[in-house]
Structures are given as C-alpha cells and as structure tokens.
C-alpha cells in the first residue's frame, strides 16, 4: 500500500466522520466546527490531486470566510441546541431510505463508469496555477465577469435583507 493511498484514506475518513458529526451534533456551533473539519480534509484531498490553487481557495474562502460568517451568525443569534420536534411522517419513513438510495445510485453509477474514466487517466504533471489562470481569464472570462455581477447582487440583497427599517417585512 503506497503512501498517497494511505493519505487519501486518512483524509476521506476524516471528511466522512466530520460529515456524520455534522448530522449528529445537536448544537449548531458544533455542526459548524464539524463542517470546517470536512472542508480542511477536502482541501488536503485537492492537494493530493495536484490542485494547489483550488486547495488554497477552499481553505481561504470556505474554511475562512464562509464558515466565519456562519459562526458569526450563530453567535449573533445566540442559537441554542436544537429543540426536538416530532418529525413529519414523510421525512421519517421516506427520507432516510431515499437518501441512502440516492447515495447508492451515485456510488454505483461512478463505480460502473470506471473503464471510461481510467482510459483518460493519463495524468501528466500536476496542473500549474498559471495554466489555470490563463484558462480562467481567457476561455471563461465572460462567466468570470458574470460572477462579479452575481456578487454585486448578493451584496445588495444581503443589505436589503438585514437592514432594520420601520416597515416590518413579514417573512
């Protein structure tokens, strides 16, 4: 068993355990910390695949910015432990089997497609960030500009939603 495979299984185990912990923890702040564990493990997997820039963006944007926003909101709202309410019968009886069936279908589909993927897996050197940048700013420059517009819309939307004005918005 070679070293990258061991690293992969260690990181995968950390990610899956973190995701299970996200489900089982009853306090939202514990779920948020579990999610940070998952994201750091995924960043490690990206490094293993030679995607250095994506790994850095994962740590900085997901692990840093987005999760700090989550933790900030949890603390701002003083969110306590989740109160236990009766599940709707649909979620109780159909939810878990359907979710596990979805998981199984996805895993079976990708396991069945192994030959096609393996044919293409003549991976050379890890992709340098320079090539990624040239592709992002040449081939995908219009979607890139559109994302800046998306962020502008998100900023305006968040400000409109969070402002405390006299006209009460009834959500």
């Amino acid at each position: 068993m070679n070293v990258p495979l061991i690293v992969f299984f260690a990181l995968a185990a950390i990610a899956v355990l973190g995701a299970i912990s996200l489900i089982l923890q009853r306090h939202p702040i514990h779920s948020a910390l579990s999610l940070i564990v998952v994201m750091v493990a995924l960043a490690g997997l990206y490094l293993l695949m030679g995607a250095e820039f994506v790994a850095a963006a994962q740590i900085i944007v997901y692990g840093g910015a987005i999760m700090v926003l989550f933790v900030f909101v949890i603390m701002l709202l003083n969110a306590g432990a989740e109160e236990r309410t009766s599940f709707s019968s649909l979620a109780k009886f159909a939810g878990l089997p359907l979710a596990i069936a979805l998981m199984g279908c996805l895993a079976a589909a990708v396991a069945g497609s192994s030959e096609r993927v393996q044919v293409a897996a003549q991976s050379g050197a890890p992709a340098p960030t320079k090539v990624l940048a040239s592709q992002l700013f040449q081939e995908f420059v219009y979607p890139f500009e559109l994302t800046s517009f998306l962020i502008l819309v998100a900023i305006v939307g968040a400000m409109v939603l969070a402002q405390r004005d006299s006209k009460e918005s009834h959500l």
């Binding site: 995968a12 998952v38 995924l42 994506v54 939810g95 998981m103 897996a121 009834h170």
Partner: protein, 100 residues
C-alpha cells in the same frame, strides 16, 4: 496514483450525508450548512474529473462554485437573521406561513 473512482465514491457519500442532514435536521442554520456540504461534495467530483481527464475546466468550475456559495451564504444568512427576528425561533417547523 489513486483511482478516480475512490474520489467519486467519497463525493457520493458526502453528498448523501448532506442530503440526510438536510432532511433530518430542524435548525435552519444546520440545514444551510448541509447545503454547503453538498456543494463541497460536488466540488470534489469536479476536481477528480479534472484530474482524470487532465483538463483544467473542472477546477475553473470549482472556483465558480465557490463564488456562488459565498454569495449564497451572504444572502441566506441575511434571510436567517430576518426569520429569527420575525419568528424568535430558528426551527424550520415554525416557518409555516405557506402550510395548509
């Protein structure tokens, strides 16, 4: 060299766990975090395919997904703050205005 299948199966498992969390949790913040978990699972599949086909478009898509997730987090958390302010509760069972 790790087979691409391993990454894809891990991605499927993480996505399924995200779906389970989305269905079974009652706290709206945790539900929102499970959406982020599903986005992360999809990102893992993107990078795995990018590596498998030796083509960088997958990693560019991952960057776009990260941008969309950041925008979604900003707007979604704004909505959560508004719900807490109007309902004094983070339980999704209490947000039942459209329920018969």
């Amino acid at each position: 060299m790790i087979p691409t299948n391993y990454y894809l199966i891990l991605s499927a498992i993480l996505f399924g766990l995200g779906v389970i969390a989305f269905i079974f949790r009652r706290n709206i913040i945790t539900i929102f975090m499970s959406i982020e978990l599903m986005l992360n699972a999809v990102n893992l599949a993107f990078v795995a395919f990018s590596q498998a086909w030796n083509h960088l478009s997958g990693q560019v898509f991952v960057l776009f997904v990260i941008v969309v997730a950041a925008a979604e987090a900003a707007v979604g958390l704004g909505i959560i703050i508004l719900i807490q302010r109007n309902r004094q509760s983070l339980n999704v069972e209490r947000v039942d205005l459209l329920k018969l």
